[in-house]
Symmetry: C2
Subunit: 299 residues, 2 copies
Amino acid sequence: MQMGASVGFIGLGAMGEPMARSLRRAGWRVSASVHRNRAAMERLADDGVLELTDPASVAAACDLVITCVPDAPQVEEVLFGPRGVAAGFADRASSAPGAIVIDMSTISPIASRAFAARLGASKVAFLDAPVSGGPVRAASGTLTIMVGGDPGTFDAARPVLEAMGTPTLVGPIGMGTTVKLVNQLIIASVMIANVEALTFAREAGADLSAVCSVIATATGSNYVLEQWLPKTWLAGTFQGGFALDLLRKDLNAALETARAMTLALPASGLAYQLYTARSREGDGALDYSAIARTYERHD
Amino acid sequence: MQMGASVGFIGLGAMGEPMARSLRRAGWRVSASVHRNRAAMERLADDGVLELTDPASVAAACDLVITCVPDAPQVEEVLFGPRGVAAGFADRASSAPGAIVIDMSTISPIASRAFAARLGASKVAFLDAPVSGGPVRAASGTLTIMVGGDPGTFDAARPVLEAMGTPTLVGPIGMGTTVKLVNQLIIASVMIANVEALTFAREAGADLSAVCSVIATATGSNYVLEQWLPKTWLAGTFQGGFALDLLRKDLNAALETARAMTLALPASGLAYQLYTARSREGDGALDYSAIARTYERHD
């Protein structure tokens, strides 16, 4: 993509909004359509993002369209619905040569490959490019971006992706979402490991800040403990961060993919069950460190 | 302790041997007695470590004695057996004013406090000072050392501890072992999280080295993945490292301590069961990354 080209962005949620803003900051023209996040669209309009009526209109105006929505059914609706991206590309006078869809949602690799195949039939290229880092790194344009697709498409999309973080091509279509699910499997269990260990420490009378300082230099050192928990549970808040129900959705995608491979993941399966029990207690919209509430004492 | 003083060291295993060598390298005179590790004693003798006949003889020669043995029963035997450290201190003409025992084993804080109380009755001070970092960091003298005890004893022992790594006083007696068990609870589950996620990636056809590089920049980043697995499972070896059965012992100590607090740790409980099943398959002496063998395909 040439600088100055127009980039379409669909999905202005907790991640999408700051990612679209990073694109603007890097000098891209950005067009968006809004379905649920009216307030985000108004904030982005102040930053110069152009509002269009629907995904088809966005595709009609942009050779590259980014989708960043909660799950595979929303990706399907945005891409293939009646006023979806595929319809918008098809409506163009030219056949939109070089059109690219980058799906930055976290969905199963099985779904990524299916969407890529359907777009490919209309000569639209596809990258699955989910991200890691949360809203803070989305805002600073320093996300980790795991990309699946062919090298030519990756090279064409790279300047756009670099506005939002550090993209790495990890393999063919479906491998970006695969590697993202690998990350989600890790953080799901690492969060619970930290919460169980720190609850143990607190109950034993330890000073949690001293414990965290020491563990950061020991073999237990991990990103969730050192970078995530000080902004969430350990700061006394479960607002912002990464919604527990979205992690449940990612774990479900990973466990479904594992099921298709006849692969047992007992610790990840238990993690899914623990987060699900927490969600049932009403905490699904909170940061996933809210799993700590499961370990609280009530007497 | 003044430089030039003689330090006693009991327990010349995979950790104790390089730790004793670090003491020598830093200029301390070191006396040891050997029970099981004859070959280690001979290597250390070449480095100038003096061999004495038993723990009592070591205590008779040194004002500060370090113990680094597998578990609480071995600590008890070394300290309070017929020719143990306590007997050696008691035999001295003077009452060994300022004598200190530093137990660097990983045992339960309940046991640490009991041993401290028994030694205290004879005016022998005690620190529980377990370590983290494995044999590699033991050899380089860069261990993380988590110390429980009173500040005066810690200050007296600090020059000795600094020869082996970075000591941090984390609280009163028993808090060193508490914080060490916090670390062990974390690594037990983090190892399994990494193994489940990387097995998922491998089965899905991903390139593991690319996956590890990307995860290292993402929220799943952790020490075990980046520093431990490349030397063990991912290097195709389970030799060296940290014996799976020692981790089971540490988990057992943590879960017993949790039981005494009526604290449920479901993920840690599952981790203990998975490592135990692996040990039953004959892998207890291997590095704990051998848990990966549970996830191998056999067809």
